[in-house]
C-alpha cells in the first residue's frame, strides 16, 4: 500500500457520512490498536475531529443562523452539509460557503424559508470581514464612458432576499436574542449590500434600481450594455454610480481601467 493510496482512502473514509461494513473493515485493517482488539475508538476520534473542526468553523460564520435553527438543528444540518460539501481549501476560514443554498433545499425548514436568507447574509458578512484592505475611489465621479466597466471593491457583496432579514439581523447583532422577533421576517423582497468599513462588515439596504445596476456591473457589463439589458436610463445608472461612490464601494483603481472617456 503506497502512502498516497493510504492517505486517499483514509480521508475519503473520514468524509463518508455512514461508511459501510466493508469500508470500515478495510480501513481498520490498516491499523493496530494495542489497547483494543478493534481500532474503532481511534477511528472515531479522527472522524469526530473532522466534524468538530468543520462545524466549529461554521459556528463562527453562521452565528445568527445557529440561533434561529437552534443548537441541535444547526449541528444536524451542518453535519449533513459537511459530508456533502467536503473542505477543499487549506484555509478553514473559506469553509461553509453555500450553506444558505443547502438549507434552502431542506424540506424540514421550508416553513422557515427566511433562515437560508440569513445564512446567505452571514456568508457575505464573513467574506467582507476577511477581504483584503483596498482603497476606495474618493472625490468626484470621473467621466465614465459607455464602454467602461466600473469595479467595486472585493469586499462588496450583494444579497437579495425574499424575506425582510436586515432589521432582525441588526437587532440580533446589537442586542443578541432579545434584539429580534419572528414577526420581523416578513415575506417581502429586500436588497442588501454587504461591505467592509475599514475591516468592519456593514449592511446597507438599497433599492431595486441600485441593486440591478450593481449586479449587472459586478457581472462585468459595460455601462452601455447595462443600459441596454436593464432598460434603465443613463441618468438612473449615473445616479446609482454616484451613490456607490459616496458609500466608498468603488475601487480606487477603477480610473485606470477606463477605456472610453465619452461621458454618458
Amino acid at each position: 500500500m503506497s502512502l498516497e493510496q493510504l492517505q486517499k482512502e483514509f480521508i475519503e473514509f473520514l468524509y463518508t457520512a455512514k461508511p459501510g461494513e466493508e469500508q470500515k473493515n478495510h480501513i481498520r485493517s490498516y491499523f493496530l490498536d494495542p489497547q483494543h482488539s478493534d481500532p474503532h475508538n481511534g477511528l472515531k476520534i479522527y472522524r469526530g475531529n473532522l466534524v468538530f473542526g468543520l462545524i466549529g468553523a461554521m459556528k463562527e460564520t453562521y452565528v445568527f443562523t445557529r440561533v434561529l435553527l437552534g443548537e441541535n438543528n444547526f449541528n444536524f444540518f451542518s453535519r449533513d452539509f459537511l459530508y456533502q460539501n467536503p473542505s477543499r481549501d487549506s484555509d478553514l476560514i473559506q469553509y461553509g460557503g453555500g450553506f444558505g443554498d443547502f438549507l434552502a433545499g431542506r424540506e424540514e425548514i421550508q416553513h422557515l424559508a427566511f433562515i437560508p436568507e440569513v445564512a446567505r447574509l452571514e456568508w457575505a458578512l464573513e467574506r467582507a470581514f476577511y477581504a483584503p484592505p483596498e482603497p476606495s475611489l474618493t472625490g468626484e465621479l470621473p467621466e465614465i464612458g459607455r464602454e467602461s466597466k466600473l469595479r467595486f471593491k472585493n469586499s462588496v457583496r450583494l444579497v437579495q432576499s425574499a424575506y425582510k432579514i436586515h432589521k432582525a439581523w441588526a437587532g440580533f447583532t446589537e442586542k443578541g436574542v432579545d434584539g429580534f422577533e419572528g414577526e420581523m421576517f416578513k415575506k417581502e423582497p429586500e436588497s442588501l449590500v454587504v461591505w467592509s468599513d475599514e475591516g468592519s462588515p456593514r449592511v446597507t439596504p438599497v433599492n431595486e434600481i441600485l441593486m440591478t445596476v450593481m449586479k449587472e456591473t459586478m457581472a462585468g457589463k459595460t455601462t452601455s450594455a447595462l443600459v441596454r439589458s436593464t432598460g434603465l436610463s443613463e441618468e438612473n445608472v449615473r445616479e446609482a454610480y454616484w451613490f456607490t461612490l459616496k458609500q466608498g464601494w468603488i475601487a480606487d483603481d477603477f480610473k485606470s481601467n477606463l477605456t472610453d472617456f465619452h461621458s454618458i
Binding site: 500500500m1 503506497s2 502512502l3 498516497e4 493510504l6 492517505q7 486517499k8 483514509f10 480521508i11 475519503e12 473520514l14 468524509y15 485493517s29 490498516y30 491499523f31 493496530l32 490498536d33 494495542p34 489497547q35 483494543h36 481500532p39 475508538n41 481511534g42 477511528l43 472515531k44 476520534i45 479522527y46 475531529n49 473532522l50 473542526g53 468543520l54 468553523a57 467536503p86 473542505s87 477543499r88 481549501d89 487549506s90 484555509d91 478553514l92 476560514i93 469553509y95 470581514f129 476577511y130 477581504a131 483584503p132 484592505p133 467592509s196 475599514e198 475591516g199 468592519s200
Partner: protein, 266 residues
C-alpha cells in the same frame, strides 16, 4: 503562551510579562484588517513565534505554493522568532481534514516527510521546528517506534524539534509505550521548544484537546524532559474551554519554575 482571542484585549491593556506569544499563523493568512490590527499591537510589545497547521508536510499532495506565499508575507510582516508545524498530513486527494493525521512509521515515510520539510524550509528561507503528533492509532505497516521515526525525520530534514510533552504522554497511554524512553531518544541539540497542554480521557482513550490544566503525570514527564533539555522555552497551550488569562499564565509560570529549578541530568 499561545495568543488566543479571548485574551487579546486584556493583554493589550495590562501587558503582562509574558516572554513571547505563539500565534496560530493560519488564522492570519487572510488579509482582513481587524485581526491584523490587534496582532500588530501585540507585536510592538512582544516577540512572536508562528505555529502552523496547514503546511501538510506529510501529505503526498504537492506543497501548496499559495499557502507558503501567504505565510512568507506574514513572516515578513511580523518577523517571528521561529516557525513550526506538525509531523503529519492534513489533506490529500483534494480533500482537507483540518485535523492532524498520522503517518506510518516507515523508512519511506521518513524520506518523504524529510524531503517535504526541506522543501518547506527552502520556501521559507529558514530552519523550522517540527512538532511530534498526538495519535490514536498505529499503522500495521510501521517499521519503527514513534520516537525512532521522529528522530530520523528531524535529522534527515535537518530541522529543529518542537517537543510536545502532552502528546508523548497521550500517545504512550493510547499506544502503550514508555514515554520516558521517548524523551531519552530525542536529540538534545535539536529540541528548541516544548509544549504543554491538557487532555481529555474518554472511552478509554486520551484525546489531546488542549481543554484543561496539565495533569500530574505530564508534569512529571515534563520535569524529566526539562532536565534533559535545559533552558528550552516551553509554551502552555489551552485552546478549548479557554479560562481567564491568569489561569493559563499561572500554568505557564509553573512550567517556567520547573525549567528554572532543574539541573542538567542528560
Amino acid at each position: 503562551m499561545g495568543l488566543r482571542s479571548p485574551h487579546l484585549s486584556g493583554v493589550l491593556e495590562n501587558k503582562p510579562p509574558v516572554p513571547w506569544f505563539e500565534v496560530m499563523a493560519d488564522n492570519y493568512l487572510n488579509q482582513g484588517e481587524i485581526p491584523h490590527r490587534a496582532l500588530e499591537k501585540i507585536r510592538t510589545h512582544y516577540p512572536l513565534t508562528f505555529h502552523c497547521l496547514g503546511m501538510n508536510l506529510g501529505s503526498t499532495e504537492v506543497l501548496n505554493d499559495s499557502y507558503f506565499k501567504r505565510l512568507s508575507e506574514l513572516i515578513e510582516r511580523y518577523q517571528p522568532q521561529w516557525i513550526s508545524d506538525h509531523l503529519c498530513w492534513v489533506g490529500a486527494n483534494g480533500l482537507q481534514s483540518h485535523d492532524l493525521l498520522p503517518l506510518p512509521y516507515t523508512a519511506d515515510a521518513v524520506s518523504h516527510a524529510a524531503s517535504r520539510i526541506q522543501q518547506a524550509q527552502e520556501k521559507l528561507g529558514r530552519r523550522m521546528l517540527i512538532e511530534n503528533l498526538s495519535g490514536y492509532l498505529r499503522f500495521n505497516q510501521s517499521e519503527m517506534t514513534e520516537w525512532e521515526f521522529v528522530k530520523a525525520v528531524v535529522e534527515k530534514a535537518d530541522c529543529h524539534l518542537l517537543l510536545d510533552i502532552n502528546n508523548i504522554y497521550v500517545n504512550s497511554e493510547n499506544l502503550r509505550f514508555d514515554p520516558y524512553l521517548y524523551i531519552d531518544a530525542m536529540p538534545v541539540d535539536r529540541v528548541k521548544e516544548m509544549h504543554l497542554a491538557g487532555h481529555l480521557r474518554t472511552e478509554g482513550i486520551l484525546v489531546d484537546n488542549h481543554g484543561s490544566a496539565v495533569c500530574d503525570e505530564v508534569w512529571d514527564l515534563y520535569r524529566y524532559a526539562a532536565a534533559r533539555f535545559p533552558q528550552v522555552p516551553t509554551l502552555m497551550e489551552w485552546d478549548l474551554n479557554i479560562p481567564a488569562f491568569e489561569v493559563v499564565w499561572a500554568e505557564a509560570q509553573k512550567a517556567q519554575a520547573v525549567l528554572s529549578g532543574v539541573s542538567h541530568v542528560a
